[in-house]
Structures are given as structure tokens and as C-alpha cells.
């Protein structure tokens, strides 16, 4: 069984057709994990026993002739900030090194209902803060295309294990690019859905108004398949929204781009963008034109401003969201303390890593009385302006194209000493979160040195169907799916 090349649909199909059993699928994925994760370090926790038990259940269903769920027997890796009942969920933080949630996130429930099989929890930047997965308190994940380089972040573990064939699909979370940037760095497909389309219940919050769970996969159809399984209104998430067309991604995905109007903001191709990436994106633009889309240059002058607004809003929310980790009820507690204040201060000082503390400080400052108007309020106004600009573009266009990252995957340690440089890696992705719109990153080429390049396809609110259509059409044209990292 050549599992690393199989799509989620092929796995489900194979089980239904009785070409192989779910148990065989799980066993062979774990074989690959045991062999390859020693050099990639993408997983933090593996759940082999639970996965095999669940697989036996799937095989039982097949025997009895019962219908399989949308993701029947498909292994899935979960970013370690999504709560899994009874399975450690650490956010790659010392603070939660032993935290075992007493409940399943809504997406996990939905995956189980769809008969997907959770095989493990993946590495990430601590509390999803970072763009390289180097901020994990536990290990550094390597980019399967060049193990000297980072897989991107913060969902670096999820992107790396999908890229390395250790899982056909994975879930990540994206607050400012944390699904799309690692997808670009690892040469896989990553989608950040419209804010509110997927329930956040059970996602350990970073920036509540920006966070969104989404799929990482080796191809566009699997991305749509997973989204169909996890989307939908949730009574446990007040910000989740019911949307009527969400079930129809797979049925219209092959519709093509003929007549689609696609915008390319000229600002996204100015200084700071790697030349090879620019060239590769332009090639894709030509392909879209050839496929019958109308592609036009537009002006969208928000790129740099968004970065400051993003770091203020996300850090402000994070400073509040992460305040509950005080050493009182669960998680890390300092060894010695004299009184209550010392217990909380020392637990937080020792339990959180540098980047997390930096953002808590930044966010606390931005919300302080006397600074609130100058920072948080101004950032919110800017956010509103950014959203309006995108909405306006989508009055005339179906989609927007851009690079996912301005740079190719960088070397481990190369940027970890300079937070500002690291923040700039998110420049094309953060505005999407501020606007609450969906965007997908897909591989569109390789650098001369063999590193993957990501194209970002941005859609209007609830425009995932359009994004999938365009991405699928380009994927068929580029034929990059066959490209796998040599491991």
C-alpha cells in the first residue's frame, strides 16, 4: 500500500471497496510515522491504540454493510491547540504540558461523526504565536523539503506531517496566517475558512476575533472534503454562523474558472517579495488567464498598516485569553512560592515562553487605560477600514490572488532572534483574518533550490466554493501533486 500518495477520498473508497481495511490504513500510517517522524518531529502526541480501536469500529461497519461517514477511515492529525477528550492538548507550552481536556472540541466531534480517525497531535508555535514552529516548548519541527529549514508556523507540525506523508489530512488553526504560511512552506494545501464558518469551541484561544480552524491536505479536493465535515453553526460558539451553501463544495469543485473575475493587488508585488516567488505567482496568473478567467491588476493599499493593527488586536485578545493560566487550577505551577501573587507570577514567568510573554506584554499595554484609544481603538478602526476595502473589491471581483509568504522557507534559527522580521512573514496573510474572509494557500511552483512556493487565493465572505473551484482548476493545470519531498 503506497499510503503517502493516497488522497482522503481514495482511502475512504479503498475501505468501502474492501481493497484494504481501516486497520491496515492506520497500521501503515503508523509505520511511516515511526520511520519518518524521527527526522521531522511533527507530532507531539501519538494515539495509536485509540486509532486502531476506532479503525476496528470502521471495519465492523463495513462488515455489517453500514454507510461510512464522509471521512470514513481517513487518518487525521490535529494541531495541539484543539481539545481532544482524554488526549493531552498542550499548545506546545510548558504551561499545559500535562493538560488533558475533559471534552472534545466541536470540530473533533464532527470528525468523529464523519468517521475520521485521529492519529496524533501536532507540534506548533507555543499558543499558536509564531511563523516557524520554533516557539514550541518541546521540539523543533523540520521542513520535509529541506530539513535545515523551518516548516513555517504556527501550524508547522500539521503542515509537515501532511507534506511528509505521515497523515493525508490535518487540522490547523489560523489567526494571522498560521495555516496558509506553513502550507506554503511545506508545499501543501491549507485553508483558512470565513470567520464563523467553523466552530471555535474547543480551540484554545489566541486571538478570539481572528482564530479559525481549517484543513491542511495534499490536494484541493481533500481540503473541501474536510471543510464539509467540520463547518456549520454550533450552539456552543456564539460567533459561528449558519450558511446555506456550505454543503456544496465537492459538487461544484470541478466547475472551472471560465468567466471568473480575479483581482491582483499591485501593492502585494512591491518591495520585500522574493523574486522567485513573484515569478511563480505570475506564472499561475497566466494559467488562470489561459483557463478563461479575467485577471486584472487593482490597488489595495492596506498591506503594511494591517500588520500593526493585527499585532495590537491579536495580542490584546491573547493577553486576556491567556490570563487564566495562573497555576491555580490546572497546568504548570511553580515549585516554590510565598503567597498567592508569587504563585501566579512565578507560574506564568516560568510556564510561558519568550514570544508568548512578549505578546502578553504588548497586549496588556495596548489595553491599558490611557493607551486604549491610541492603540486598541485605532487598530479596530483600521480593521474596519481593511474589511471595507476587501468587501469593495469583491463587489467587482470573485477572487483575489497574492503570494502566501514574501519569503521562501528560512533556516532554523535564522529569524528567531528578530521578532519584527518574523512578523513580516505574515504580511500577506494577516489582513485576511482582520477582514474575516477565507483564503487558501496552494503549491504553485518550486524555487531553484527545490523549496515550495505558495499561492494565496482569497475569496469573499463564504466564498469558499469559488476558492475551491479556482484552486482545483489550477491544481489540475500545474500537476504538482506528484511532487513529494524525498525522505
Amino acid at each position: 500500500m503506497n499510503i503517502e500518495k493516497m488522497t482522503a477520498q481514495e482511502i475512504r473508497g479503498g475501505i468501502i471497496e474492501k481493497q484494504f481495511t481501516a486497520k491496515e490504513v492506520i497500521a501503515s500510517y503508523f509505520e511511516r510515522i515511526y520511520e519518518k517522524d524521527t527526522i521531522i518531529d511533527g507530532f507531539l502526541t501519538l494515539c495509536r491504540e485509540e486509532a486502531l480501536t476506532q479503525a476496528a469500529g470502521i471495519d465492523e461497519k463495513i462488515k455489517k454493510g453500514e454507510q461510512l461517514g464522509r471521512l470514513g477511515g481517513v487518518p487525521i492529525a490535529i494541531k495541539d491547540n484543539i481539545c481532544t477528550n482524554g488526549i493531552k492538548t498542550t499548545c506546545a507550552s510548558r504551561m499545559l504540558h500535562d493538560f488533558i481536556p475533559p471534552y472534545d472540541a466541536t470540530v473533533i466531534k464532527k470528525l468523529r461523526e464523519a468517521d475520521a480517525i485521529i492519529i496524533g497531535k501536532t507540534n506548533m508555535d507555543e499558543f499558536a504565536m509564531g511563523s516557524s514552529t520554533e516557539n514550541s516548548a518541546f521540539k523543533k519541527t523540520r521542513n520535509p523539503w529541506d530539513r535545515e529549514r523551518v516548516p513555517g508556523g504556527s501550524s508547522g507540525g500539521s503542515a509537515a506531517v501532511v507534506s511528509a506523508g505521515m497523515a493525508p489530512i490535518a487540522l490547523g488553526s489560523d489567526t494571522g496566517g498560521s495555516i496558509r504560511q506553513p502550507a506554503a512552506f511545506c508545499g501543501v494545501v491549507g485553508l483558512k475558512p470565513t470567520y464563523g464558518l467553523v466552530s471555535r469551541f474547543g480551540l484554545i484561544a489566541f486571538g478570539s476575533s481572528l482564530d479559525q480552524i481549517g484543513p491542511l491536505s495534499n490536494n484541493v479536493k481533500d481540503s473541501a472534503l474536510v471543510l464539509e465535515a467540520i463547518q456549520g453553526e454550533d450552539k456552543f460558539d456564539n460567533t459561528s454562523v449558519k450558511h446555506s451553501i456550505t454543503e456544496a463544495y465537492m459538487s461544484c469543485i470541478e466547475g472551472g474558472v471560465k468567466g471568473m473575475r480575479i483581482a491582483v493587488p499591485v501593492e502585494f508585488f512591491q518591495s520585500g517579495l522574493d523574486e522567485e516567488i513573484a515569478a511563480s505567482i505570475k506564472e499561475s496568473i497566466e494559467k488562470f488567464k489561459a483557463l478563461g478567467a479575467v485577471v486584472e491588476d487593482i490597488s489595495l493599499p492596506i498591506t503594511a498598516e494591517g500588520l500593526s493593527a493585527y499585532y495590537i488586536i491579536s495580542s490584546a485578545e491573547a493577553s486576556s485569553n491567556l490570563a487564566r493560566f495562573d497555576g491555580i487550577r490546572y497546568g504548570f505551577r511553580t515549585e516554590e512560592f510565598g503567597d498567592l501573587d508569587e504563585l501566579m507570577e512565578k507560574s506564568r514567568s516560568e510556564g510561558f515562553g519568550e514570544e508568548v510573554k512578549r505578546r502578553i506584554m504588548l497586549g496588556t499595554y495596548a489595553l491599558s487605560s490611557g493607551y486604549y484609544d491610541a492603540y486598541y481603538n485605532r487598530a479596530q478602526k483600521l480593521r474596519k477600514k481593511i474589511k471595507e476595502q476587501f468587501v469593495k473589491v469583491f463587489e467587482s471581483y470573485d477572487l483575489i490572488l497574492s503570494p502566501t509568504s514574501p519569503v521562501l522557507p528560512f533556516k532554523i534559527g535564522e529569524k528567531s532572534s528578530d521578532p519584527i522580521e518574523m512578523y513580516l512573514a505574515d504580511i500577506y496573510t494577516i489582513n485576511i483574518n482582520l477582514a474575516g474572509i477565507p483564503a487558501l494557500s496552494m503549491p504553485c511552483g518550486f524555487s531553484k533550490t527545490g523549496l515550495p512556493i505558495g499561492l494565496q487565493i482569497i475569496g469573499p465572505h463564504y466564498g469558499e466554493d469559488k476558492i475551491f473551484k479556482a484552486a482545483y482548476a489550477l491544481e489540475q493545470e500545474l500537476k504538482l501533486i506528484a511532487m513529494q519531498p524525498m525522505l
Binding site: L96, G202, N238, T239, S369
Partner: protein, 479 residues
């Protein structure tokens, strides 16, 4: 020197909902520690709040009965601070846009009417409770109360005396009870009050430095704390040491009978309020406001008017009965069974309150069902037992829960109204008191009183006095 006292109150009332503000846990008081908790109210990572709509309805209702303006576009905000009783390390509250603005409550103290203006009412969640163990290094935390919905009602500094503050709180409490907004049990913490107090010279129109008093858990404590603080401030002014009055929060220590400093203005938290991103805005429309208005239960003032018109009670009697919702409900039930309103009020204001006090019971814990008391009043009205016997029966009913019928039978308290029986008793009394009889005949009419007493004595108090009296009169006429 004449001084004027300026008081403003901040009242927290737990809303009378079945479940908590953001999850489905019960709000029932008195459960085992941490029994009424779930991952959501415990703030377990990844969980999110879902607003209980009943909280918004009750807050709107409070605003409606307290004459406030209801905000149509509402949001929740996070108030950030670290404390172990607050599992999310922020309290979800309302900051710059409260659900209700303005409003007022009219009060009357010794004939002086005053309109006390409200500043705002906002919705928020309660925190848990720390339990400090004696001789132990660690403390325990009970999170049952965390997430119980509250409204905070803030008055303007419109109260001018301790009496006014007490009367205001009593009036407000009755309104919240009648409105079925809160059960207002101060002893269980479902109604809590903080007070701001300052002093100024009569005629001065600016406000001086105020002191905030906390931990005022009953009317008695509120009164004592305000009086004490009023005295402290007045003394400082009298001796020209008013600069010693600092803007600070003082805690009322009921054991020591004084206020002690808690924190100064400089130590005040920066709560870093910001809009709660996990909850969407709460939009209220005119239809909802209209529905609340139409479904309002009877308020104390309306009930007072009705009582005045229907029952012919004294104003003071009415005030006591309606000042307590449970008591007024009991009274109305009693009247509905058929007890005479005046007699019913006498029973409640007399023996009932006395026994409740003795047994330390609340007015919603009256052990005698209104129907049982009605039966007792009927027995007396029908002349079956005397009023004196009735009081004995009532005490027995109150303490044992037995019915009047049963007690009367066991104790043999039935009055003798049978003419033949009474005539026999009267005859024997007259026969054995010839002196009194001849006194009467000689014109000393007061002798009849003595003879009546002897009849009651001979019947062991069971003789129906009216019947016995007329029979005695007849007998005396014949002799």
C-alpha cells in the same frame, strides 16, 4: 456646624434564572462545593460562552420597573484581573454601554418624599468563593457561584441620610422581588450592597471626597457601617482634619464593628476593559421591550393602592405586609380563602411575625398553610372556639404543623354553645354564689361581670361567651 450626608449605592442582585449566564449549570444555592460547574463556567481552555437570553430579559425587566431607558444595541465586555475565584481571569461584564441607563426609585422617609436617580444597570457574571480554613496554609475554592448572572444597579449620589439609604434598599428589594427578577436573599448573597458616602457642609453644592464601603451583607450591617462612617467623617470635618478622608475602599468588619481600609485609589486596578470577542452584540427590539412591559407583575405601589381600596387596613399595616413579597402573597391567599381582611392582617402582624421571629424563619417559610389559618379563623368566627383558645391553637399549628381541627379535638377546646349545657353551668354558678346574686338584684350590676367570670371558670374557658352572656342575663331577669 450642620452637615449633610451624601450616599450613593451599588447593588448587585443575582438574577432568578434556572441556569448560569454562559452555560447550562444550575444556579441553585446550597449545592455541594463545585457541584454546579462544567468546563465552560470553570473556564477550561477552549470553551466559549453562550449568553442565556433569560438574563437579558430579566435585566430589561429590571430596567422597565425602575424607569430606565433600555439600550437597544448592547455588547458584553471583559474586565481583566487576576484572582483565584475568577477562573477565566476576566469577568464578563458591561463597560461603556450598560443595558439600562437612568431611571429612578421614589422613596418616602418620615413624610419626606425623594426621587433617587439611578445611573445605570448592567449585566455581568458572578465570581466563585474562596474558603479560608483556619490553621491551614492553603485555601479552597468553590466555583458553584461562578457564572451566576448578576445585575449591578448604580444610583446617583442622591441619598441624604442613612435612613434614606436603608429605605431605598428596602424599596428596591421589594421591587426586584415583586418583579421576579431576583430572590434578594441577602443572607445567601443574592443581594449585595456597596455604599459610597461623603459629608459636606449644609448649603455646599459640590461633592467632597467619598469613601466606598464593602461587605455590607444585611440591612443591619449597612446601617451600622454607614452610621459609623458618617460619624468618622463628621468628626474629622468638625476638627478640621477633613484632609484625612481619602478616596479609598473600606471594608466593614462586623465583628469589630468598624470599617477598615482595604485599598486606596492609587491601588485601584486597571481592568483593561475591552469588548468580549466571543459574544456577538445583543440587539433588543421594540417588540421585546413592549412584551416585557405588558407582562409586568403587580409592583408594590400598585398593590398598596389596591390594599387601601379593598381591605381597609391602616397604612402602616399595609406597608409591613407589602414590604415583604412573600408575606403579601400569604396574606392574599388567606383573604382568598375567605378570612376577613382585618382579622387576617391581625393574625399575620401579630402572632405570625412573632413566631417567625422566634423560630428564625423567613416569610417564605411560614409553616402554616394559608388554608389552615383560614380554617382556624373560621372556627373562631363561627364561635366554635374562643379567641384565647384560637391563639393557643395557632401556636400549636405553627410549631407542630397539625391542623386546627385536630388540635381543638385533642385539647378539647370546642366551646360550649349548647343552651341546655350552659344553663346547667349557670344554674350551679348562681346557686353557689348567693351573695353576688343578691348584690345584682340590689342593683350592683357589676356583679354580673363576676358571675360571667365564674361561668367561664366553671366551663374551663369553653363556654361560648356570647351565648353564655345572654343566658345569664335571662336568668338574672327571672330571679
Amino acid at each position: 456646624m450642620d452637615f449633610e450626608t451624601i450616599i450613593g449605592l451599588e447593588i448587585h442582585a443575582e438574577l432568578d434564572t434556572k441556569s448560569k449566564i454562559f452555560c447550562s449549570c444550575s444556579t441553585e444555592f446550597g449545592a455541594k462545593p463545585n457541584e454546579n460547574t462544567c468546563p465552560i463556567c470553570l473556564g477550561i481552555p477552549g470553551t466559549l460562552p453562550v449568553l442565556n437570553e433569560e438574563v437579558v430579559n430579566l435585566a430589561m425587566k429590571a430596567g422597565t420597573i425602575l424607569n430606565c431607558e433600555i439600550n437597544k444595541l448592547n455588547k458584553m465586555d471583559r474586565k481583566n484581573y487576576f484572582y483565584p475565584d475568577l477562573p477565566k481571569a476576566y469577568q464578563t461584564s458591561q463597560y461603556d454601554i450598560p443595558i439600562c441607563k437612568g431611571g429612578y426609585v421614589d422613596i418616602e422617609v418620615e413624610g419626606v418624599k425623594r426621587r433617587v436617580r439611578l445611573n445605570r444597570i448592567h449585566m455581568e457574571e458572578d465570581a466563585g468563593k474562596l474558603v479560608h480554613l483556619e490553621d491551614e496554609e492553603s485555601s479552597l475554592i468553590d466555583y458553584n457561584r461562578v457564572g451566576v448572572p448578576l445585575i449591578e444597579i448604580v444610583t446617583e449620589p442622591d441619598l441624604r441620610s442613612v435612613d434614606e439609604a436603608i429605605t431605598f434598599l428596602r424599596t428596591l428589594k421589594a421591587m426586584l422581588e415583586y418583579g421576579e427578577i431576583s430572590d434578594c436573599r441577602m443572607e445567601q448573597g443574592s443581594l449585595r450592597c456597596d455604599a459610597n458616602i461623603s459629608i459636606r457642609r449644609m448649603g455646599q453644592d459640590t461633592l467632597n471626597t467619598r469613601v466606598e464601603l464593602k461587605n455590607l451583607n444585611s440591612f443591619k450591617e449597612l446601617q451600622k457601617a454607614l452610621e459609623k462612617e458618617e460619624k468618622r467623617q463628621k468628626e474629622l470635618y468638625t476638627f478640621g482634619e477633613e484632609d484625612k478622608i481619602k478616596q479609598e475602599t473600606r471594608r466593614w468588619d462586623s465583628a469589630k464593628g468598624k470599617t477598615v481600609p482595604m485599598r486606596s485609589k492609587e491601588d485601584a486596578h486597571d481592568y483593561r476593559y475591552f469588548p468580549e470577542p466571543d459574544l456577538v452584540p445583543i440587539i433588543i427590539n421594540d417588540i421585546q421591550i413592549q412584551e416585557i412591559k405588558q407582562a409586568l407583575p403587580e409592583m408594590p405601589m400598585e398593590k398598596k393602592k389596591r390594599f387601601e381600596e379593598l381591605y381597609g387596613l391602616k397604612e402602616k399595616e399595609i406597608d409591613i405586609i407589602i414590604g415583604d413579597k412573600a408575606l403579601s402573597q400569604y396574606y392574599e391567599a388567606l383573604i382568598a380563602y375567605g378570612t376577613n381582611p382585618k382579622i387576617g392582617a391581625n393574625w399575620i402582624l401579630g402572632n405570625m411575625l412573632k413566631f417567625l421571629n422566634e423560630k428564625e424563619l423567613e416569610t417564605d417559610q411560614i409553616p402554616v398553610h394559608p388554608e389552615a389559618l383560614y380554617k382556624l379563623t373560621e372556627m373562631i368566627a363561627a364561635g366554635r372556639i374562643s379567641i384565647t383558645a384560637g391563639q393557643e391553637v395557632f401556636k400549636e399549628m405553627f410549631y407542630t404543623g397539625k391542623g386546627a381541627e385536630e388540635i381543638v379535638k385533642i385539647k378539647g377546646l370546642d366551646q360550649i354553645s349548647d343552651t341546655a349545657d350552659l344553663e346547667r353551668i349557670i344554674k350551679s354558678v348562681l346557686d353557689s354564689n348567693p351573695q353576688s346574686l343578691s348584690d345584682y338584684i340590689a342593683g350592683k350590676t357589676q356583679a354580673a361581670g363576676f358571675l360571667m367570670g365564674q361561668i367561664m371558670k366553671a366551663s374551663k374557658g369553653k363556654a361560648n361567651p356570647q351565648v353564655a352572656k345572654s343566658l345569664l342575663d335571662e336568668q338574672l331577669k327571672q330571679r
